[in-house]
């Protein structure tokens, strides 16, 4: 998976996502999800890491379903009556469809991005899609700063405790302190950013010279096949939904 171009992954995840968002039926989502799960072992992500990155998704998706179950448009027979909530068969199938859909759309996106190195993505965006190097490389350098910002945030919090302003004032006080700390983080981030900008400029970044690329971004036959595969999965999913009559166009 690491040898697939980041742009092919971007396209594949995009196609699957857009197609699956067009309809709200359980069939197309189930078909797509089936293909995705079958292909998962070839994604090259170790099982533990996979579990870690997918946990938030697996927790969030059922909640989307639950909300539909409780607050969705009533339709069909009432299956269960829980105080103010009437759960109907229409809601149950909608809830199921939404849960499946959230997973089917997010799973490829999460896995594909977990296997993408930001540097490779930047290379591909700049070299193949010809996005301006200035923005792509700038964004890339900024991503690296995020880790430093997390450390800064931690130290700012500890510093506020050391300075005697970390407690009291109730919820309003906490909120005010949080705002204050965020402002301090912003100040530090700007300072770091401007120092980094000097370092980059000192290495001739943005010089009036045609930039060369140390790493060549390629889009090979394999990448075309990869995108085609994703398109095929989407097409099969839609066809199955149409054939079973489950297709439910969201805009209609």
């Amino acid at each position: 998976m690491n040898s697939i171009s980041p742009l092919a992954k971007l396209c594949a995840a995009g196609i699957l996502g857009i197609v699956l968002l067009l309809s709200l039926d359980p069939v197309s989502a189930l078909v797509a999800l089936g293909f995705e799960l079958a292909l998962l072992p070839w994604a090259g992500v170790p099982a533990r890491k996979l579990l870690r990155i997918l946990t938030p998704l697996l927790i969030a998706a059922p909640f989307a379903g639950l909300a539909t179950l409780l607050y969705g448009r009533d339709g069909g027979d009432v299956i269960l009556s829980l105080g103010p909530w009437q759960i109907t068969s229409g809601e149950v199938s909608l809830a199921l469809a939404i849960t499946l859909r959230v997973i089917a759309v997010a799973l490829p996106a999460v896995v594909l991005f977990a296997t993408t190195d930001p540097t490779d993505l930047a290379d591909a965006l700049a070299q193949l899609w010809k996005l301006p190097a200035r923005f792509v490389i700038g964004a890339l350098a900024a991503i690296r700063m995020l880790g430093l910002m997390r450390q800064d945030w931690q130290m700012l919090r500890l510093a506020r405790r050391a300075r005697g302003v970390a407690d009291g004032g109730g919820p309003w006080g906490s909120l005010k302190r949080l705002g204050n700390q965020a402002l301090a983080l912003l100040t530090i981030a700007i300072r770091r950013g401007s120092l980094l900008a000097i370092a980059m400029e000192a290495r001739a970044f943005d010089a009036p010279i045609q930039r060369s690329w140390a790493r060549q971004a390629q889009f090979t036959a394999r990448d075309y096949v990869f995108v085609l595969g994703a398109t095929l999965i989407s097409a099969i999913a839609v066809m199955m939904a149409l054939m079973t009559g489950a297709w439910n166009f969201v805009i209609a």
Partner: protein, 476 residues
């Protein structure tokens, strides 16, 4: 350079004026001068990274008869802070970055990258993550990135100020091998000139109006040396006054004691078990190489993060009327009059918009009356030589001033224990001496001082006892 000067847009006086000198290829120049005299500005101008919108220049500055801005790639610049000049995630890519910007062909880039890494002595994989490097390695990485551009001039702005002694020596070695291999011209600003005294072929001393002195290091006249020392420049063979206490250490009461204490960030590495006491009226220096967990230990001692294992307990004297003797369980305001923590990066610690409010924040949190707060703040401003800057924003102060202010913020609440993380980091000789005398005064006044430090001179000057942390099995 002819009568060159620079004035920042926001300042009423020029940062530099009337600088005239000529540097020929292959020279190794050490730029010296008091802090605030504009050495870094000059270096940035040479590197062509002073933006035209940042200020106005007078006179001319040329490199091979071209203005620096058009001579991109001829001058490479290495900056002070290793953290803020790593650009990309992988070692090889980071070194290649400058070459890419100069439009060098791909094969040529990778050849240059390997060569540059070899010369600076970084024997690591090209795909190695840059964020896992030590400070000394990051500085050598920055040097390699500059070197790969094959500049004619290498400019370095206090390259060792943020490094431990081992890192500083490794950078020196790398630069020596760079000049041996390439014959590049070197222009360097550095407070710790003793480290580079033998390396430099020429010293240029900058004054407030032009060049003060210019010549070979060995010829530096004593009167200029005196001016430099007064201005805070470290010269070789500086005598350091010992300010240690003469009396018995056990005569002082224990305020904090650590028993089998192991510290570390909540999810990070765990340090070795430690046993020691922090005593009133004593300076305890904690030393050890980078990455050994000194800062985590300081944060634990200051009651800011919990002990991972073992025990850290306050003596009844320090605990006072609080219910528990574990500093981490105290409230923020209860810590204030007991523990003062001063972080390595002062800017992380500032919470107010003026120097005065910064000093007043702690006493106010303690609930002191307005008069009491004012008296304390005035006293501190005086003592830290910050009175004239009382209305300035803390972020606009110089490094040395920020450091004094951050110590002041901790002093304002008169804590019994003062924990300082690298109090002398990046200080020039004058502010260094001031910091050492301030710390010894506090010690004599009965405060317990814990100082995390790399600075051997500092340890020699004030430490009453030393706790040397070592890299142990548990850490890796």
């Amino acid at each position: 350079m002819q009568e060159w000067g620079w004035q920042y847009a926001a300042r009423s006086t020029p940062a530099l004026s009337n600088i005239s000198c000529e540097i020929t290829a292959g020279e190794r120049v050490l730029l010296l001068g008091a802090s605030g005299v504009g050495k870094s500005t000059l270096l940035r101008a040479v590197a062509g990274v002073l933006g035209e919108d940042e200020g106005a220049q007078h006179g001319t500055l040329t490199i091979d008869a071209v203005v620096p801005h058009r001579a991109r790639g001829k001058v490479g610049l290495v900056l002070q802070d290793p953290e803020n000049q790593v650009i990309l995630e992988r070692v090889g890519d980071d070194v290649a970055f400058g070459c890419e910007n100069l439009g060098i062909a791909r094969d040529e880039i990778w050849a240059r990258v390997s060569r540059a890494l070899e010369i600076v002595g970084l024997d690591i994989d090209l795909a190695h993550s840059t964020s896992q490097l030590s400070g000394g390695q990051k500085q050598r990485l920055a040097l390699a990135g500059v070197l790969a551009m094959q500049p004619e001039i290498i400019a370095l702005d206090e390259p060792t100020a943020n490094l431990d002694p081992v890192g500083a020596l490794s950078l020196r070695k790398a630069l020596v091998s760079v000049t041996d291999e390439t014959g590049a011209t070197v222009v360097m600003v550095e407070h710790r000139s003793d480290l580079w005294w033998d390396f430099a072929t020429r010293i240029i001393v900058l004054g407030s109006d032009g060049v003060l002195w210019d010549g070979a290091p060995a010829l530096l006249p004593p009167e200029t040396a005196e001016v430099l020392e007064a201005a805070g420049v470290w010269l070789p063979d500086k005598k350091i006054l010992s300010r240690k206490r003469q009396d018995e250490r056990d005569a002082h009461s224990v305020l904090l004691s650590a028993r089998n204490l192991r510290t570390g960030y909540p999810a990070g590495q765990l340090g070795q078990p430690l046993n020691f006491d922090v005593r009133a009226g004593q300076v305890l220096a904690i030393t050890g190489p980078n990455g050994v967990g000194k800062t985590a230990l300081a944060l634990t001692l200051g009651g800011l993060i919990p002990a991972r294992e073992g025990e850290l307990s306050a003596s009844p004297e320090l605990q006072g009327n609080l219910r528990t003797n574990s500093p981490y369980a105290w409230r923020s305001t209860q810590l204030l009059s007991r523990m003062g923590s001063v972080f390595q990066a002062p800017e992380q610690q500032f919470i107010a918009g003026t120097v005065r409010d910064e000093l007043a924040a702690g006493p106010r949190a303690l609930g002191l009356s307005r008069e009491e707060v004012d008296t304390r703040v005035d006293e501190l401003l005086e003592r830290l030589h910050l009175s004239e800057l009382s209305q300035a924003h803390p972020f606009t102060l110089s490094g040395g001033q920020q450091r004094r202010l951050s110590v002041g913020t901790a002093l304002a609440t008169m804590p019994r224990v003062l924990i300082l993380d690298e109090p002398t980091f990046g200080q020039d000789a004058r502010t260094w001496t001031e910091m050492v005398s301030l710390i010894s005064e506090l010690r004599d006044g009965g405060h317990a001082i814990v100082a995390i430090t790399h600075d051997e001179d500092f340890v020699a000057a004030v430490a009453d006892s030393v706790l040397a942390l070592e890299v142990g099995r548990e850490q890796y």
